[in-house]
């Protein structure tokens, strides 16, 4: 085997004592398409930041291990150095100037120039642009991608899919490009665009450019990759040629259990009633990046229902849609009567409460006090904490008293009820959110990503609180990216794939079944029977 274009050996990295990458090895041969897969937080971005010598890495003490390009040791200390060595990157967010033409974007900061009178006197900076050559180069790059757009149109107004191609054209126009890194390029593309995109990648690989492809879409991985590397929690789980994997195996390896699921929080619960409290029929939610495309799901009274799935498949949108925060269509019946969609007020009036996944953006008024954050929703929706009388003045005494009780009960570490919420740690902020939901006395309680970004100790406490709320009679729908967490507290777990319900599993179902559902395969289709897991 010839010398690989890129070889990363034993890469490790820790941020402030937390190890985020552990002994990662990665080899990419010439003309190879190598897929890097893993859940959010698995370490893919960190690995790419190391490769590009990004300042987040160099400023936090660098990394351990070696990087070899064409067999030679390199250590990039800036993205510029990496680019000069022939590594290109296409980011998830477009880095294009909307008012400029396709050519200008492709050639940005690398314009071809020709001398003129002024430049001869004042130096190279005043040379004229060689527009002819630039256009010709841009055309060549676009042709290589099989793109038929005109190189002189402005980027503004082009369809999203095209923008991605323009970005790639810019990278391949650079001389000596050897390795192209694509960071979730298909996340924003429609299906047909994504297909075209994969074709282009294959064509590029045939010309000898190596490609490192980061994606969440596993069918894409299977369709295009030569080799696959799976990361989980900063460790390399498995690496090998595509033929040696099935889609379900990849999914399973990506999400596999991290902690012992037998450690159920709150122990066994009494069998849930069979009375339906929420019936969802053909619900579509237009939430950017997390679209739901028609889901049918029932929630039973008194249960804890977990909602799982890979990032970008729409699990987050379920709660947001029902609570009216994102545009939705479909039918939702709550306690036997229709729940109007797109009206947060209506949902709150009917006794629904929501702890948002976006704690700092939606969940809290960061500049306000703990006390106010806890009572605001109840005050506005249920007229609690107001003095009697026509003026509806707020009752500061009651508010403070309730806040003190909540702080005690939820173990919120703070200096007092008047502390500004921004100053609290993530875990304590989350407890404030949950305290707010408790204050509403909800009958149906949605909580999304309750443990995201909070420390281990607080995690367990937050989950216990959710179970406690359930015990008090609330039905709970919990959405989480951490499967282990769902399995530790849920009675049933629904898996969402591509905006639709993929299946519902028991919390103690084998990993393999979870993997299959997350990869969009139905259990019957693959013929899984009990006991084939692990």
């Amino acid at each position: 085997m010839s010398v690989p274009v890129l070889e990363m050996k034993n890469i490790s990295k820790s941020f402030y004592g937390t190890q985020v990458l552990k002994n990662i090895d990665l080899r990419v041969a010439k003309g190879e398409i190598h897929c890097l897969v893993g859940e959010n937080g698995a370490g893919k971005s960190t690995l790419m930041n190391i490769l590009f010598g990004m300042s987040v890495i160099t400023n936090t003490g660098g990394y351990d291990g070696q990087i070899l390009i064409n067999g030679e040791h390199v250590a990039f200390n800036s993205p510029k150095a990496a680019i000069e060595a022939g590594i290109g990157m296409v980011h998830q967010e477009f880095m294009l100037l909307p008012g400029f033409t396709v050519t200008e974007n492709i050639k940005l900061n690398r314009e071809d120039t020709k001398p003129n009178l002024f430049s001869k006197i004042f130096g190279k900076k005043l040379e004229t642009l060689d527009r002819k050559k630039m256009s010709a180069d841009a055309r060549t790059a676009l042709d290589k991608l099989g793109m038929n757009i005109e190189e002189w149109v402005t980027v503004e107004g082009l369809p999203v899919g095209y923008l991605q191609f323009v970005e790639i054209a810019r990278e391949i126009d650079k001389e000596g490009l050897q390795l192209l890194v694509l960071d979730e390029p298909t996340a924003v593309l429609t299906e047909s665009e994504a297909e075209q995109f994969l074709e282009v990648i294959r064509r590029l690989a045939d010309t000898g450019i190596s490609i490192l492809f980061i994606t969440h879409r596993l069918d894409e991985v299977m369709a295009v990759a030569d080799n696959i590397t799976i990361l989980k929690d900063g460790e390399l789980v498995r690496s090998g040629p595509t033929e040696s994997f099935t889609i379900a195996q990849i999914a399973e390896l990506m999400v596999g259990r991290r902690i012992d699921t037998s450690a159920r929080i709150g122990g066994e619960r009494p069998k849930a009633a069979t009375e339906k409290v929420l019936e969802i029929r053909d619900l579509h939610v237009d939430m950017p990046g997390e679209r739901l495309r028609g889901i049918d799901l029932d929630v039973y009274k008194g249960e804890i229902l977990g909602i799982g799935g890979l990032a970008g498949h729409g699990k987050i949108a379920l709660a947001n849609g029902i609570m009216g925060l994102y545009q939705s269509v479909g039918q939702v019946r709550y306690e036997g009567t229709d729940l109007p969609l797109n009206s947060p007020r209506e949902a709150l009036n009917r006794g629904l409460a929501f702890v948002s996944e976006d704690r700092r953006g939606v969940g809290l008024v960061l500049e306000d006090t703990i006390a106010n954050n806890i009572v605001l929703t109840s005050m506005q929706v249920q007229d609690k904490f107001l003095k009697p009388g026509p003026l509806k003045l707020k009752d500061q005494k009651k508010i403070t008293q309730h806040a003190l009780e909540s702080i005690e009960r939820f173990d919120i570490r703070c200096t007092g009820p008047d502390q500004i919420v921004r100053r609290l740690s993530g875990g304590n902020q989350q407890k404030v959110c949950i305290a707010r939901a408790f204050t509403q006395n909800p009958k149906l309680f949605f909580v999304s990503e309750p443990t995201r970004g909070i420390d281990v100790g607080a995690k367990a406490r937050v989950l216990e609180l959710i179970v406690e709320l359930n015990r008090m009679g609330a039905t709970v729908v919990i959405t989480s990216s951490e499967l282990a967490e769902l399995r530790s507290i849920s009675d049933r777990i629904a898996i969402i794939y591509e905006g639709k319900l993929s299946g519902v599993l028991a919390p103690d179902a084998p990993d393999l079944e979870y993997g299959l559902l997350m990869a969009g395969k139905s259990l019957e289709e693959v013929g899984v029977s009990e006991g084939t897991a692990n």
Partner: protein
């Protein structure tokens, strides 16, 4: 005890402490010259009462998340029409004052609501758009003043029989109604009791409103609109409420201002009314996203006293009459300082 002192100090803030100290130095200097300190302070009290309501008007718009209301002239003009209607009918004393308010408030509500519809379409740019709405309304009204159907010869140009004069005097109608209500003298200071009481009354009403359910909702909308949506609140409705309140306060503020000042200046008169009010509320410790009634009160007291005292003192210290230049420099420097301190509260 020490802790309480620290808390009081932190609540007051370093900038206000420095301005107060500077003010004290100015007053001491004034005492050393032939200037009458009591006279200066009396003037300050009048100016505080005269401008205070404009500064209060900043509070609801900031709390509703619209930022500083640079479109204050919208309300001022509503107040102006009220004053003109009262003068047209030659109403004297309290009668004139109250009729002026009765006309100004509904006009303020209508104008404020229309203005808020515009502001709700330019979220994030309210202050810039507001500034130019203010300028445009003043310019547009210049045409109106020329064509307005007022007939009282005291108001219109002596020749031609149409078009309002540039400066109208209120001394024959209801000028000084509030200022001359229960005035008294103490330590050589003359206290404009009625003016200050009226100001205090409005400040109290606003304070009450901010503690009520809709007031709290408005504050939530201003601080985090996304949270407000999740709490079932109608964001645009509460933003409009804030703008309407601000505009109505500006309208009332003008009627009070005119009766105290003794003149109504039409045409380009209200062009710059927003700026001193903006400066005052910021100096009082508010930010563009957070303001309390107490910020407005502290702000107007410091700002207006400083202006009133600083001018004569500089005139005495520096030979020659530079009072107008000094006023412009001092007031604009304070606005500039205040705008660079938009963080407000603890940091300002």
């Amino acid at each position: 005890m020490k802790e309480r002192l620290i808390k009081v100090y932190q609540g007051f803030g370093l900038p206000r402490l420095i301005i107060s100290a500077f003010l004290l130095v100015l007053i001491l200097v004034a005492a050393g010259t032939e200037l009458s300190v009591a006279g200066l302070l009396s003037d300050s009290l009048v100016r505080i009462g005269q401008n205070g309501i404009y500064v209060l008007a900043m509070v609801p718009s900031i709390q509703a998340g619209v930022g500083l209301n640079f479109g204050l002239p919208v309300g001022v003009i509503a107040g102006m029409v009220g004053v003109l209607v009262a003068m047209e009918n030659s109403l004297l004393g309290f009668g004139g004052f109250i009729v002026a308010l009765l006309v100004a408030i509904p006009l303020g509500i209508i104008a404020g609501y229309l203005y808020s519809l515009l502001l709700n379409r330019v979220v994030g740019q309210e202050m810039m758009v507001g500034t130019y709405v203010g300028f445009s309304v003043v310019a547009g009204m210049c045409i109106f003043w020329l064509m307005a159907p007022f007939k009282n010869p005291a108001l219109i140009w002596p020749v031609g029989g149409q078009g309002l004069r540039v400066t109208l005097t209120l001394s024959d109608t209801f000028g000084g109604t509030l200022n001359k209500f229960l005035p008294f003298q103490i330590f050589g200071l003359s206290i404009p009791t009625g003016l200050l009481l009226f100001y205090a009354f409005l400040a109290f009403l606003l304070w009450l409103f901010l503690r009520s359910k809709p007031g709290v909702a408005m504050e939530v909308v201003g601080r985090n609109p996304r949270f407000a949506v999740a709490a079932g609140l109608n964001i645009n409705a509460y933003r409009s409420l804030g703008v309407v309140l601000s505009t109505v306060l500006a309208a009332i503020g003008y009627v009070v201002y005119a009766q105290s000042f003794g003149f109504a200046q039409l045409y380009n008169g209200p062009l710059m009314t927003a700026f001193p009010a903006v400066a005052a509320v910021l100096i009082g410790g508010a930010s563009t996203s957070q303001a309390k009634v107490v910020n407005a009160i502290i702000g107007v007291v410091l700002f207006q006293t400083l202006l009133t005292v600083a001018m004569p003192v500089t005139n005495v210290l520096i030979e020659g009459n530079i009072s107008e230049i000094a006023r412009v420099i001092v007031s604009n420097a304070m606005i500039l300082y205040a705008l660079t301190r938009v963080t407000g509260g603890e940091q300002a």
